[in-house]
Every structure is written in C-alpha cells, then in structure tokens.
C-alpha cells in the first residue's frame, strides 16, 4: 500500500480566546478541504496571503490543531499524532538554524536528540550535505552563510531524518532573483533524486508551476482547483485561478455578446470594439449576455492578411528582450499581447489579431465560474 497523504474534510477555525460573540463571525481558515497526494509526488499549495495554505501545512505537520476532519498517511490516521511521530520534515521560510553551531551540528541536531549512533549520524549528515551541495560548508558557522546557503542547510536538516513527507513553507521567498532561480532548479533536481512526497506552500505561482506535479489553488480557505500545472494553466476552473496563474497575467475583460454582420456573433469590449466569438461557444451564448472573457497575452497572435478576429489601435509597445509586448487600452484596462519575433509596433499602429479559440475562456461575471462550450 502506497503511503498517500490524504486530507479528508479538513476544517480549521482559529480560537478566539473564548470571546463567544466573535467566534460566530470568525471565518474558516480552511473550509472542507479534500486532497489526496500520491506518494512520491511534488504538490504545491498555492494562493494569496490569507488563503489557508500555511494553516493547512501546519495541520499536516501537527503544529496546529484540526477543528474538524482528518489526515491520513496511507491507512493510518495521523491527525492526533504528536508532530515528532508523524515522520515529517519541515523547512520554513526563515531558516531557524542554530547560529552558534556549525552547519554539521545543525544538520546533525535532531539525530543527536534521537540518540542515533555517532557513526550513522556522520554518514547521514555527509550524504545529505552532498545532495544539498553544502559539503564544503559543514565546518562553517551558520551566521556567515548567504541566504541561499542557509536555505540549503535548512532543507538538509529537514531531510536528514529520512522523512516520509517533506514540507516546504515559502522556502525561496527570502532570496533574491538569481539565487531563487538557482535554488528552484536545485529543489526540482532534489525531488527527482530522493522521490520523497513533497508539499510546497507558496504565493508565487511561477514557483508552483515550475516545481510541482500537482497544484492545489486556494482562496479564503477554500480549494479552487487541484490539478497538474498544465491543467491549472490551460484549463482554469474559474476566473480567480485564471487571473492568479500566469506572468504576465491573463487578460480579463468584461464583454457583451452582440450580433454582427461579419462575425455572426461578437464580443463587444468596453470601448465598443468587437472580437469574434469562436464557433464552439454558439450554443451557450445569447445576444446581450455579459461575461468576463479571459485570454492569455501569449494566446493572441498579431496577423497580416484578411482573416482576423479583431482589430485594434496600439497604445503601448515594450521591448523586453526575447519577448515583446503590445498593449491596447480598453477603457480602464489594458489588453496585453506578448510575442517573441522581431516585429516592432508603434503607438497608433492598427493591428489585426487572431485568438487561439482553445485558449479563450468565458467566466460568469458574478460567480467567476467557468462557462464551458457544450
């Protein structure tokens, strides 16, 4: 039996110190969360601050009580186990290393506490130090290390106990851009080597997409979508997920369905300009319907020639290296197009665009729920 980690109808409400009146209004930090994480996979819990991601992580680790529901590791209910008996390794954003100790002693600390024989400690510390590329630092004091090095030591310390599950809480958010990019690659590599079930909590969608096999997107304590990065990116469940994932972010525009001589149906944008409705939506739309239309900047192509879905005047051109970007102002918002060839555009140019119909999404304006073609 594989030891999948299963969260079953998990609820969490924080204690209000006995103030009964407030308890009623206290929102759920986590509300009816169900997740099954297969052994050996890399799962990311992703969401903005206050979405309940860290609370969930802390409940898995046993650092936070569970208001309702249970957590299983394989067949075993671990909900009421003491943190130290759960066999879980933890690495937080702030490294919480022991500054007076050497890197070696920091990594060895919990093994010593468990009275593991000295020889085995030495073997395991050196083994994990090699994996985390901190071998040369073993004799250094922690206080002199860079942020990236500290985080490596921190993860090494979590892994030295050979945990069944590794929990990472925003491990990269303290680091500067370059270091973050490097360590991101290392964490990916590490997971490939040790194949330990890993849960990464982050607010950085790029981190989640680049590292995880599966992503759980949360908002205000409620799971929004659970799927592979590809599913989350290319098949978002609602407008929140669509807008949260992707850099540059997805264009989300309020549109109204109108009948049109040349397009049959068109979406009328806020400034009156028209965008052809892909045929696949004909059965779910009616003239006058209002939607939020979602389209990624990279799903729009600027074309020459007769066939096009919309025509706009350029308000903004940005050279960004391999990528270039064109912006079109539609009332208060900006429709953003990103491409990576050598073309240049100038303010005032008229462009014609085509939209990839498979990657054009419609959402209910009120609920944000996805409207799918039938």
């Amino acid at each position: 039996m594989a030891e999948n980690l299963v969260l079953k109808n998990l609820y969490k409400k924080y204690d209000t110190n006995g103030k009964k009146k407030q308890a009623k209004e206290q929102p759920w930090a986590v509300h009816d969360l169900n997740l099954e994480m297969e052994q050996g996979t890399f799962v990311s819990i992703l969401g903005p601050s206050g979405c309940g991601k860290s609370t969930t992580l802390r409940m898995i680790a046993g650092l936070e009580s569970i208001t309702q529901g249970s957590i299983f590791m394989g067949e075993q209910d671990i909900s009421s186990l003491h943190p130290k008996d759960r066999n879980i390794g933890l690495a937080f954003e702030d490294y919480a290393l022991y500054p007076p100790l050497t890197v070696y002693e920091n990594i060895a600390f919990c093994l010593r506490a468990k009275k593991v024989p000295g020889e085995e400690i030495d073997r395991r510390v050196r083994e994990i130090a090699k994996t985390m590329k901190v071998e040369e630092l073993l004799d250094s004091k922690v206080s002199g290390l860079s942020g990236g090095q500290k985080q490596r030591v921190n993860i090494a310390r979590a892994l030295v106990r050979h945990p069944k599950v590794l929990l990472l809480d925003e491990p990269l958010s303290h680091l500067d851009g370059k270091m973050r990019q490097i360590l991101r690659g290392e964490i990916k590599r590490l997971h490939h080597e040790i194949k330990c079930t890993t849960i990464l909590v982050t607010h950085d969608q790029m981190e989640a997409i680049s590292l995880a096999d599966y992503i759980a997107v949360m908002k205000l304590g409620v799971l929004q979508q659970y799927g592979t990065p590809d599913e989350i990116y290319n098949d978002p469940a609602n407008a929140f997920v669509a807008g949260f994932i992707g850099d540059p972010p997805m264009n989300l525009l309020r549109v109204k369905v109108v009948e049109d001589a040349s397009y049959t149906y068109a979406f009328e944008l806020g400034d009156g300009s028209l965008l052809r409705v892909p045929e696949k939506f004909y059965r779910v739309i009616h003239t006058g319907d209002v939607f939020d239309l979602g389209i990624r900047p990279t799903s729009i192509t600027i074309v020459e020639g007769e066939e096009y879905d919309a025509r706009f005047k350029v308000d903004l051109f940005e050279f960004l290296g391999e990528e270039r970007s064109v912006g079109i102002q539609i009332n208060e918002s900006l429709l953003n197009i990103v491409y990576n060839d050598n073309r240049r555009f100038a303010e005032g140019d008229i462009i014609h665009i085509r939209v990839n119909p498979d990657l054009l999404f419609l959402f209910e304006p009120e609920s944000g729920e996805r409207v799918r073609p039938r």
Binding site: G185, R189, H192, G246, D247, F319, E332, L334
Partner: protein, 374 residues
C-alpha cells in the same frame, strides 16, 4: 525642462568609493533609466542631482547653469521614492495640492485646481480625488505620489525604485501605466531600478552602473544585443545568458571558435572575424536563440543530460548539464523533456555575442541583431 550634464562626479563615503568619475548627459525631455544591482551607486547619483548630497569632485549642470552649490529647494527637482509618504488624513486632492500650498510655490486655489486636475488626468486619478489614501490600492497610492511630484511642473523628475516593493502582478501593471503616462510627461526624468524589465520597457536610454562606474549607456536594444561587458549581458534577460569559453584558431585562412566540448566548433561569422583582432580566448555569450538542441546526435552537437526542467506556463526553462557546465535556455512549452534525459546541444553562431575572456569586454556579434534595424 532641462538637460542634465554630470562631469567626472566622484563620491566617497569613508573608505568606500560610491561613485568613480561618473560622466553622463541626460537630454532635455529624455527618460533615462539608471540600472544596476543593489549597492551600485544608483541612489547616491540621484541624490547628487537632487542636491541632497554633494560630490567630492566633479560638476553638475542643468542646461548651462552650474548646480553644485544650489540648494535642493532651488533646483526645481521633484522626487518619488519607494515609500510614497502620503498624508493619511487628507483626501487625494489635498495630497496632490500640498506642494502648491507651501510657502515657496504658493498658488491661488483656482490655479491649484487646474494643476491638480491636469496631473490627475495624466495618471488616470481624476475620479479618486475625494478619496483618502487608505481607500486606495497600493498602485493608486503610488500614482498619487507621482501626481504630487509632477504638480510643480519640475525641471527634473527623479524616481527612485518607485514600484520595487509591489508584488509581481501589480508591478507589471504599474510599469505599463508608467509607460503610458510617459508620453504625456513633459520633463527630463531619471528612473532608478534594479529590474531589467522596467529598464528595458521604460528607458529611452539605459545607463548601466556597477560599483560606482557607468559601464554602458544605450537604448534597450543596444544593451540587450550589444552589451559592452559580460556583466551587462548577465543583467538582461530572465534566463541568464550562458558564457561558453572558446579558443580562436586559424584554419585555412578562416578563424574558428573551438569550445572545450569535443566537436563543438565553428567558423566565426565573417563580419565578426574582423572585430576579433588577435584575441585568442573568448567567451561565447549564448542566449536562447544562440542554442540549438536535438534528441538525436548530430554533427557539431555535444551530448548533455537534462539537469532540471522548469515549466513556466507558456514556455519551459531547460537546464542541461554538458560535461559539468549548466546551460540554461527556453524551449517551447509543448517540447517535453524528463530529468536525466539525454539531449544534444549545438550553437547558432549568428546569434552568439563574443566577449574577450580576459577583460570580459564586448568584441563582436553578427550584424543582424545590432539593434539598429531588423
């Protein structure tokens, strides 16, 4: 408006030299970006121009007027900082109007209204004039800070990392807004940032600074396609440029670049040949277009193995281990690789930027991408 001329500016703080013989000219009405890593001297230079700090030696001119001993308040310079320091108790209107009510710039109320409305229109804040700062988003607060700086119609507009602290999504949106505002902006501006995307998007020209020295001044395409130093090349691009060492050898009257990877060698493009002089050791600066990959062995390709794969939504970053060198580049999102999979790497000489290995200075690149015209 004014043309700013800096001549041989030097500044030391104790033993540390913050600025070394900096000479720079910002044209009348130009938007210049001062770009470099933390501690490069960007803010120090800005403070000199504002008059907050004095140079040890060197001259500062606004048009034909020497500014060295002019008080900050008499320089007609407006500054915007990262923290916007608004008056929380005042509505937006009064926050923007506050400089015009100071003793120095006192204006009658009708004049104030006209000015406030003018700058609010530039920044798209016209509808928020009655609100208090607490009722605004971070992006809107920053716009109020911009308005307040602009309202005096300054000679010179200095912006010190004004959007650095915003989250990625908001920063992206604010950058585009600043870019849209630029065309209505009628003053000489210097913008300090360490974000290469902001630098490339906003700057008419970019001055790259390191350790108190200006390394290069040029348009976004110049610094991207013809970086004066390896250091500059490394700063631009979200996937750091690869530097591959090579020897230059003469064969049958042609110059060849020979890397330390067996079989990876090529005749140097003819127009590059002329600029190489007698440099024998070069670094081949290779961004994504300069690299080719194949799943099958091919002539001129070297065998590597996939070190890490990081999907980024609409593209994927691949890190390949080639005989111990980690090579990073972007591949299309629908090209799938697994970790440790074999991949063969080749080079596209016409996209390579050649640097002198010893001095790290720019030598040459093939003519197509000089950044002047495509």
């Amino acid at each position: 408006m004014a043309k700013i001329t800096l001549e041989h500016i030097t500044k030391t703080f104790g033993k540390k030299t913050a600025l070394k013989d900096v000479s720079l000219c910002v044209e009348d009405g130009e938007f210049l970006v001062l770009f470099g890593p933390a501690g490069a001297g960007k803010t120090t230079l800005l403070n000199m121009i504002a008059g907050i700090d004095d140079p040890d030696s060197g001259n500062i001119w606004f048009d034909d007027t020497p500014m060295n001993f002019v008080e900050p308040s008499n320089r007609d310079v407006a500054m915007v900082f990262e923290n916007y320091a608004l008056y929380p108790q005042m509505p937006v209107y009064d926050n923007i109007a506050s400089p015009l009510r100071s003793r120095k710039h006192r204006t009658d109320e009708a004049g104030i209204r006209k000015e406030v409305e003018r700058v609010a229109a530039i920044t798209g804040m016209s509808e928020y004039l009655e609100r208090r700062p607490s009722q605004l988003s971070n992006g809107q607060r920053q716009r109020v800070a911009l308005c307040r700086a602009l309202v005096r119609n300054p000679n010179v507009f200095l912006l010190d990392e004004p959007i650095a602290h915003l989250d990625a999504k908001l920063r992206n949106a604010m950058r585009k807004e600043l870019k849209l505002m630029q065309k209505n902006l009628d003053c000489t501006s210097i913008y300090v940032t360490h974000d290469f995307t902001e630098a490339m998007s906003l700057g008419d020209r970019i001055a790259v600074i390191r350790d108190g020295e200006i390394l290069q001044v040029g348009t976004n395409e110049e610094v991207y396609y013809r970086p004066a130093w390896e250091f500059v090349a490394r700063l631009f691009g979200e996937c750091e440029i690869n530097m591959i060492p090579a020897r230059i050898e003469k064969r049958n009257g042609r110059l060849w670049a020979v890397t330390r990877w067996e079989g990876v060698e090529f005749p140097v493009p003819v127009d590059v040949e002329r600029s190489l002089g007698d440099v024998a050791e070069v670094d081949l600066g290779c961004r994504t277009p300069a690299l080719a990959f194949s799943r099958e062995p091919a002539a001129g390709y070297v065998r590597g193995s996939v070190y890490s794969v990081e999907p980024l939504g609409n593209k994927t970053e691949l890190i390949v281990d080639v005989q111990g060198d980690l090579i990073r580049f972007i591949i299309p999102v629908d090209t799938k690789f697994g970790i440790d999979e074999t991949v063969y790497i080749g080079l596209n000489p016409e996209h390579i930027i050649f640097f002198d290995q010893k001095t790290e200075a720019f030598l040459a690149c093939h003519g197509e991408e000089t950044g002047t015209e495509v």
